[in-house]
Symmetry: C2
DNA sequence: CTTTTTTCGATGCGCTTGTATCGGATCATA
DNA sequence: TATGATCCGATACAAGCGCATCGAAAAAAG
């Protein structure tokens, strides 16, 4: 048997390089040569991990989604939410909102991918599925929260979930554009969450 | 004197071609050759209107902003709002929200430009100024509405304006991604506006 | 009708991109 | 240690990009 390399790890490593490049200089800055240089590997290594660039972009998109999921789960665990649906909902919403300056890089990358997905059918499928998954999660949490009495009665789960997603996405855009700051975004999302409680 | 062409009109014509191409295939679809073909002129004509492509993109960005302004003013005039700040606020917010399927093309183009502005300092200045203008307008309208009694007392003008902008931007993203539809976006924005009234 | 100035459409150029190719280095196995 | 499959890094290549150039066409002025 010949030399063995950890493909999974390498793909992640490359995905992080792509994310960093995109958040700094947009899609056009993410060329194969720049990606290889940033990831610290050769161009040939990148080509062996992804047979085409489109396949790479799909993977990066999915990887970004997984990072978001990890961030959310980390928040839930760290907050000791247990199985309180309201606490889980709170941390989930916080996890997808730019709350500090450290969140700006992935927020920029997320915006670029969202724009790309709006005009590219293949990425649209990935983005759509990720967003629908988030939508379903929030719906379930809102319904459970209402049933448990932690949220206002009469709250429609799906409407509430949709509006929460719209708010966090909008905050992301507005923070990047400079109308909102991370501080006002934080206040805004806390106010929206507080308004759901009885 | 030699042949004369209407540069202003041509620039608008090219800007509309660029917007259409971007809303169909993203930034990468907007090459000089495609733009010229779509606008029905030669590549040389495009080059005489804009000395560089970046200058063209800035103009297109500004043009998109002017279209939005025109759409808002058209709504205000058509609704017979007069000088009622609440009615003007309502039509302004509606004007920047994707309410029907016809709004999807410019929503896509707007998202692409927002993403581009997040990573390109020159476009960022344009986008930032446009958004701040909108923010100031909404702030003034909210303050006037509160003073006139058409909006809830105790409403902070700047906070309310920021949140309205975040909502409309978020609705744009979510509609394009497929979580919201134009119908639910319409309901959502009307609900948000209704919540401001006393 | 001639002249002159601007616009037009086309072509060429240098550059960068994504992808394909290939000899040599590398390491588990026999 | 010899072997042979696998990975590496560099280079080659075609395509497409934005931009520059140039002769021909067109129209107002003499």
């Amino acid at each position: 048997m010949p030399k063995q390399v950890d493909h999974k790890a390498r793909r992640r490593q490359i995905a992080e390089a792509v994310t960093a490049l995109i958040s700094e200089g947009g899609l056009e800055a993410a060329t194969l040569r720049e990606i290889a240089a940033r990831a610290g590997v050769s161009m040939g290594a990148v080509q062996r991990c992804f047979s085409t660039k489109e396949e790479m972009m799909v993977f990066v998109h999915e990887h970004l989604g997984e990072l978001a999921t990890a961030q959310i789960e980390g928040r839930i665990a760290a907050s000791g939410a247990g199985d309180d649906p309201v606490a889980i909902l709170t941390e989930t919403v916080r996890g997808i909102t730019p709350l500090t300056a450290e969140d700006l890089p992935w927020t920029r990358a997320w915006l670029v991918f969202a724009a790309q997905a709006a005009t590219d059918p293949r990425l649209a499928a990935v983005q759509r599925e990720a967003n629908r998954g988030l939508f379903r999660l929030l719906s379930v949490l809102v319904r459970a929260g209402v049933d448990a009495g932690g949220l206002r009665a009469g709250l429609d789960p799906e409407t509430t979930a949709r509006d929460l997603l719209a708010l966090t996405d909008g905050l992301g855009v507005q923070v990047l554009v400079g109308v909102h700051t991370v501080a006002t975004a934080r206040e805004s999302v806390e106010r929206a969450l507080a308004a759901l409680r009885p």
